[in-house]
């Protein structure tokens, strides 16, 4: 939250934008502390067709819990600087996040679009502009500060993904936490990396490594975000389709709200998962390690020694 505040406050170009940014920040900060339950529909118009999902959201006192009502087998809990993922088998992963300093050169300018009605409640609409192009529209419940609708846009200002609440209950829900009995050690934050610190306006915020050697680096530009995974083995994406970009050949699969690119370098498997529109994804991939056939011997070496 503080990062966004500083972001929009520093680069005020249009008179009034700072006021809108401050107003937006205040609402969002309020939303982080709100208690509510909601159902969210995610609908994305991807190059491979529509991808839809329904997610159950519950938040109490800054702790957020999400459950996919489609699969129902994975739950995410986040809050107080950390997150956990649980399933019926117990704890799958958890980590504590040490937030770095806010970026000096924030990318987004906030424009207010006025009051609207959403789910029979008063809400405020905002437009986020990056590099002069509108990239997202946010609708925020005026009473709770919760983002009830977020629409991300392509470079041609077409709707890419829409996340909207179809129900919102401001009664405090009871969060039923699952057992924290672990199945393996949680990923640990790591300090050093050969990955770039900044890519197309996205900054490397933090990174982790789990017991199996999977490294996970998290990047954000203040609104969109992606994770870059370096894996000892290939990422299993049987549904993926080949896609040829300027930076090389990849496998790609769209899910509701996210897209995954998978490729191999000489040393590891790679996957990039993010909620970016296609043009930003391609810009990021162009600055990442390029696809490269590791060769038969290296595949064998990886199979033997990881």
């Amino acid at each position: 939250m503080r990062r966004l505040v500083s972001l929009v406050a520093v680069l005020v170009v249009v008179p009034g934008t700072a006021a809108f940014a401050a107003e937006l920040d205040e609402l969002l900060e309020q939303g982080q502390e709100a208690s509510y339950s909601a159902e969210q529909v995610i609908s994305c118009a991807t190059p491979d067709g529509m991808r839809d999902a329904l997610v159950r959201i519950e938040q109490v006192g800054g702790e957020l819990q999400l459950t996919s009502s489609v699969s129902g087998d994975v739950e995410v809990t986040a809050g107080a600087g950390g997150w956990t993922i649980t399933s019926d088998e117990g704890l799958l992963a958890q980590a504590t996040v040490e937030r770095g300093d806010p970026a000096d050169d924030e990318l987004y300018v906030v424009e207010e679009e006025g009051a609207v009605e959403y789910l029979g409640r008063v809400a405020m609409a905002y437009l986020l502009v990056r590099d002069g192009e509108p990239r997202a529209e946010l609708t925020i419940d005026d009473e709770t500060g919760v983002v009830v609708e977020a629409v991300t846009l392509t470079l041609d200002t077409e709707v890419y993904c829409e996340r909207r609440f179809v129900s919102l209950d401001t009664e405090t829900p009871e969060i039923d936490k699952k057992s924290g009995d672990g199945v393996g050690d949680p990923p640990t934050p790591v300090e050093t990396s050969s990955l770039p610190e900044s890519v197309s306006g996205f900054e490397l915020l933090d990174q982790y490594e789990d017991e199996s050697g999977v490294r996970f680096a998290y990047y954000s530009d203040g609104f969109f975000s992606f994770a870059l995974f370096e894996t000892p083995s290939a990422v299993a994406v049987p549904e993926a389709t080949p896609v040829e970009l300027e930076s090389g050949d990849y496998l790609r699969v769209f899910t509701a709200g996210q897209v995954t690119y998978v490729w191999e370098t000489r040393d590891s498997g790679m996957a990039l998962v993010g909620d970016l529109p296609p043009d930003l994804h391609q810009a990021v991939l162009a600055e990442m390690p390029r696809p490269e056939d590791p060769g038969l011997f290296r595949r064998w070496w990886r199979a033997l020694f990881g």
């Binding site: 982080q32 957020l64 739950e75 993922i85 983002v147 990422v235 509701a256 996957a271």
Partner: protein, 135 residues
Amino acid sequence: MIHPTEQISAYLDGELHGSELGQLMDHLSRCGKCSVELEQMQFVRSAVRSLPVLELPEGLISQADPVVVPLRRHKAMWAGVAAAVVVAAVALAAIVTPPPDEVSLQQLNSLIGARSTLDPAFGPAKVSISPLVGE
């Protein structure tokens, strides 16, 4: 009755003399089977001898000269066999050793979904956690 096949062949080669030649002639006069065999063998021999004689191409003999193989070549052969065994063992180990567990898309989605919930202010607006491929 014993049929003297070997004597017939020796007769055609001009190697029978004296009493042996007399005994064969006496047998042939009484044995139709051996008489027929003699005629067939004579026919085959004359047919083979009537084939044209071909001259060998120049240089063929020198190319066909036998090469003396030194005994130490056996050491190199065994070294090659040992190397092949090692390579085969490594290949077999690579095949039978299970590769590291593959990372599932659901796992990746969940991880970034979890991390995204801590993004400044935009948690519920960004997160998707479900393995919804193809749905």
